[in-house]
Amino acid sequence: MVTTEVSLEQLERIARKLRRHIVKMLAIAGSGHPGGSLSAIDILTALFFGNVMRYDPRNPRWEDRDRFILSKGHAVPALYAVLAEAGFIPEEWLWQLRKIDTPMQGHPSVKDLPAVEASTGSLGQGLSIGLGMALAARLDGKGYRVYVMIGDGESEEGQIWEAAMAASHFRVGNLTAILDYNRYQLDGAIGEIMSIEPVVAKWQAFGWAVREIDGHDMRQILDALHWAREPREQPSIIVAHTVKGKGVSFMENNNEFHGKAPSQAELERALAELAD
């Protein structure tokens, strides 16, 4: 748990390092999803290292911890990168991503890593699980908050909207969704495959407090995460406008890198761009 004040510059430096880890672990694995990992990493960095979430790497199942669920489970390299940086898992494990006989599954698996809150990878499931945890906190009189990151393509799943309706109906103020709005899904641009617009109006209509931000601006991310913690009797969502592949020029808005690992040469180019 980070207790000292961290500067925006420090957070940006951490995010850059974690981007290096993401592309490196994917290149070593030889498969996986760079685009949605890179679009999400600034937000995950702020959550874990910006004095937002309470957690204890020596006790990952600490009852009072805040929960983070990566509902868009294919972005697991981003999750593993923050888990290693926070000390939940050794950094060397990152280089075992997707290898047989290791806990480093290709999608988050609670069975394999105690720091993972929900097994995901079948899109659409995470928000309901997060809602269940938020309700349990209320039943148990606990003060923890549940954060769930969902994808824009993932938002096409009906279950997301079932959870959205239920969360506002049950008035859970301790549930925060974060939409990684990177404008692409697997087959192409969201607007061409299946538009989710007007997405802000939809969440508002479902009874959620909504805040729109630039999901790569650390200041805006931190502000929004603090806004989400304000006491209220409704769930909150941060609609984060992001760039798929953010930080690596040839991956940005290039959906070829939705689910393709960088080659060795591409890795070197990416690492050069991400150098401190």
Binding site: A29, K99, G106, E156, D187, I193, M194
Partner: protein, 319 residues
């Protein structure tokens, strides 16, 4: 002994679908944001007006397919095997199986041979789910050629069909196409008297390799390609039981609900003989496809070992 690799069965599916599209304007195709993976993209490119990408919404996809079918279309709907079967199950039950709508579900990335993506993307129980729906024809083709034949047969057949295809390149079993393909008719790939190996999907090539290994040990193994799990070719199963007296079933699927259980029912009913079952008993994990197939026993070696063991057991019982 390793067979040359041919196209992936999902690739053959995509190509076959585009071919059918040229012949029959009533063929429509749906996908759930996986057209580049299920290979419905070939159809989409050629017939954009008859292709519906519904986004990441499998239950909705199955429902729309049912409506199209109820209005006279031949609807093929695809996603990964696990997503379309699990998320679309209630719709498959009421709007497709119970209603008898002419929907063809093709689930790609079946089994654990998808490799590194891991359990959440693997079809472990897709065939069992399809089998649990009355009226569903269930087909698991062995290679590209057989997939083309199966897709064609599914389009001609009136009623619900589930076809499972796979991600990796599949070893070639049918070098000259699969003209004898018929829904519900097993294909005898190898004659034998001592034991029968029954398999489908990728396990057919493994069973053929196992039969060659067994031959070197003086065991004559029959190999049946049971591409159709339902309706099961009970005649072929009974003949195998009568004539060889022992059966090993191999499948890339959980053992609780798949080819093995269907064959066992037929064997128990018609002519009980000792059997062995090769398949999964739990969820797998991430890893390289070949390494996973080895770790989870889905190999020719394992089939051959189980066959020898079964024969020994039977020998013991006879003495």
């Amino acid at each position: 002994m390793a067979r040359p690799l041919g196209e992936a069965t999902r690739e053959a599916y995509g190509k076959a679908l585009a071919e059918l599209g040229r012949e029959n304007p009533d063929i429509v195709v749906l996908d759930g944001d996986l057209s580049k993976s299920t290979m419905t993209k070939y159809f989409a490119q050629e017939f954009p007006e008859r292709f519906f990408n519904v986004g990441i919404a499998e239950a909705n996809m199955v429902g729309i397919a049912a409506g199209l079918a109820a209005s006279g279309k031949i609807a093929f709907a695809s996603s990964f095997a696990c997503f379309v079967m699990c998320k679309g199950f209630d719709q498959l039950r009421l709007a497709v199986a119970y209603s008898g709508n002419n929907v063809k579900i093709v689930g790609s990335h079946g089994g654990i041979s998808i490799g590194e993506d891991g359990v959440s993307q693997m079809g472990h129980e897709d065939i069992g789910l399809a089998l649990s729906l009355p009226g569903f024809v269930v087909i698991v083709p062995a290679d590209g050629a057989q997939t083309r034949a199966a897709v064609r047969a599914a389009a001609e057949y009136v009623g619900p069909v589930y076809i499972r295809v796979g991600r990796p390149k599949a070893p070639i079993v049918y070098e000259n196409g699969c003209p004898d393909f018929q829904i519900g008719k097993a294909i005898t790939l190898r004659e034998g008297n001592d034991i029968t190996l029954i398999a489908n999907g990728l396990m057919v090539a493994a069973a053929l390799d196992a039969a060659e290994q067994l031959e070197q040990q003086g065991v004559s193994a029959r190999v049946l390609d049971m591409h159709t799990v339902r309706p099961l070719d009970e005649e072929a199963v009974e003949a195998a039981a009568r004539e060889t007296g022992a059966i090993v079933v191999a499948e890339e699927h959980l053992l609780y609900t798949g080819l093995g259980t269907q064959v066992a029912m037929a064997v128990a009913k018609r002519h009980p003989v000792p059997m062995r079952f090769i398949g999964l008993t739990d969820y797998a994990e991430s890893g390289a496809p070949e390494a996973l197939m080895r770790k989870y026993g889905l190999t020719a070696d394992h089939i051959a070992r189980q066959a020898l063991d079964l024969l020994q057991q039977r020998q013991g019982a006879l003495v």
